[in-house]
Amino acid sequence: MGELAIEVYDLHKSYGPLEALSGVSFDVRRGEVFGLLGPNGAGKTTTVEILEGYRRRTGGEVRVLGHDPAARERALQERVGIVLQDAGSYYPRLTVREAVEHMAHAYPAPRDPAETIELVGLEGRAGARSNQLSGGQRRRLDLALALVGDPELVFLDEPTTGFDPAARRGAWEVVRSLRGLGKTVLLTTHYLDEAQALADRVAIVKDGRLVAEGPPADLAPSSAGYRVSYVSNGQRVEHQTADPTDLLHRLTGDALARGERLEGLEVMRPTLEDVYLELTAEGDREGR
């Protein structure tokens, strides 16, 4: 078994004349949290659903844990956990405990259901039926159902959409604990802070193509650069520069020469948000 959990090469998907994916390539390493980031309709879910075996690709090569997911082999599905994007509640009249216990039967070496419920923080609601859960709790049940088979690879398609901030932090902790357990995670999100907080590497998808890929910290924008700002005469002055070393040297040198302090001096690295906004800006103008 190789180092790569997922290999995607030149992936194409068309729905009739409409091309949803036009040549997407990326790899996900074992034990890595990989984020697919992009606006709605960019092709994130199409990509993930091809990897999950729900959809057939129209071109390109895909391997998931060494298998072709289109073959829908049981041997592969036993090693994969799936959280779907927009799933309604799992059997509404089943309790959390019953649902997780039922799902465990499908896997050769499941986790302990009670422990899985605890992992997602639902131990206080184990006896509640899923139609009595809040939206956030229901999503955590989805996660428990995906994890009870003790999968090596977990697909999380927009796992926190619609969450309040506290619930999102809770879900993030669960994803971090998955990484701690050595799982590989493929996560889609349109929240930048989520990708930045969770993903080891990020790929930005737009109009069916990858427009950038790398660790969130390394995705340097081409035009937007470091922002250096300070307060002068009660007003904040901001400079942008690709290399702050020289600028800072000049600013501090001048200030020292004048015998002044540079009040409120800040140096900000470009955030993923800057990259994202720059890369996806064109699509916004087209009114997507």
């Binding site: 049981r74 009249r93 039967h105």
Partner: protein
């Protein structure tokens, strides 16, 4: 877990869910019995009418527990995304559907049994005279109405409209197929429609099995009509099947 083991787990889950769903339990289980008791109490002294009613309610029960239940449940499972989830797990489709369909078969068998027992104990209708025919018509009826219900679910756009689609078929079918009165008394055009549909033939088969003692051989024609509908239903059920 083996294919059979997973089917058994699914079957047990479906049984549990059935009893937790008040409307399913009511329409598949309570309503046919209530209709039986109400109509039978009106004709309690009319042995001929009771001999007609007991097989009629048995046939209606088979349709309600399979056709109606499949159409409702599959529409719900698809709309709710539960079918899609199942497809994303290692549970083989054949195990899942064996458990799911097994639940409907169990409901139909229990219901036919209850109707026969109530008919005998309360209304003095004889015990079935031809058991193989009773079993054969129950089995073929279950397969036929079950697959037709699955086929209908492909045409139902959403769960809210499921009741309209199901009852648009079910209510006329039970009124023209001789559940409550003999379909011989229908206008010829309606009788011809009933003759072409499967429910009347299931009821004729039950009538032979329970009342007159006509077995599978004597009612072979009826069995063939039901089986032909079953073949068409199976083809449509498989063909149009969608997981999401």
């Amino acid at each position: 877990m083996s294919y059979v083991g997973l089917a058994w787990q699914q079957f047990r889950l479906e049984r549990k869910l059935f009893w937790r769903n008040p409307s399913a339990a009511f329409f598949s289980f309570v309503l046919p019995l209530v209709l039986l008791l109400l109509v039978a109490s009106v004709f309690a002294d009319d042995a001929d009418e009771l001999d007609l009613l007991i097989p009629g309610i048995a046939g209606m029960s088979v349709m309600a527990t399979t056709f109606n239940a499949m159409a409702f449940n599959l529409t719900f499972l698809r709309e709710q995304g539960i079918l899609k989830r199942v497809r994303g797990t290692p549970t083989p489709a054949v195990s899942y559907f064996a458990g799911f369909l097994g639940n409907a078969v169990a409901n139909a068998a229990v219901q036919v049994g209850l109707v026969v027992v109530i008919g005998h104990l309360l209304y003095d209708v004889s015990w079935p005279r031809d058991w193989p025919a009773l079993v054969a018509f129950t089995a073929v009826g279950v397969v036929t109405f079950g697959s037709l219900g699955i086929a209908l679910s492909h045409a139902i756009p959403n769960f809210d409209s499921a009741a309209a689609y199901v009852n648009a078929v079910f209510l006329p079918a039970i009124f023209i197929s001789g559940v409550f009165y003999s379909s011989d008394s229908l206008p010829p055009a309606l009788a011809a429609v009933a003759e072409a549909l499967p429910l009347k033939h299931v009821i004729d088969g039950f009538s032979g099995a329970i009342v007159t003692g006509a077995g599978v051989i004597e009612n072979a024609g009826a069995l063939v009509v039901v089986a032909l509908w079953g073949a068409a239903g199976l083809a449509l059920a498989v063909r149009g099947f969608r997981w999401e």
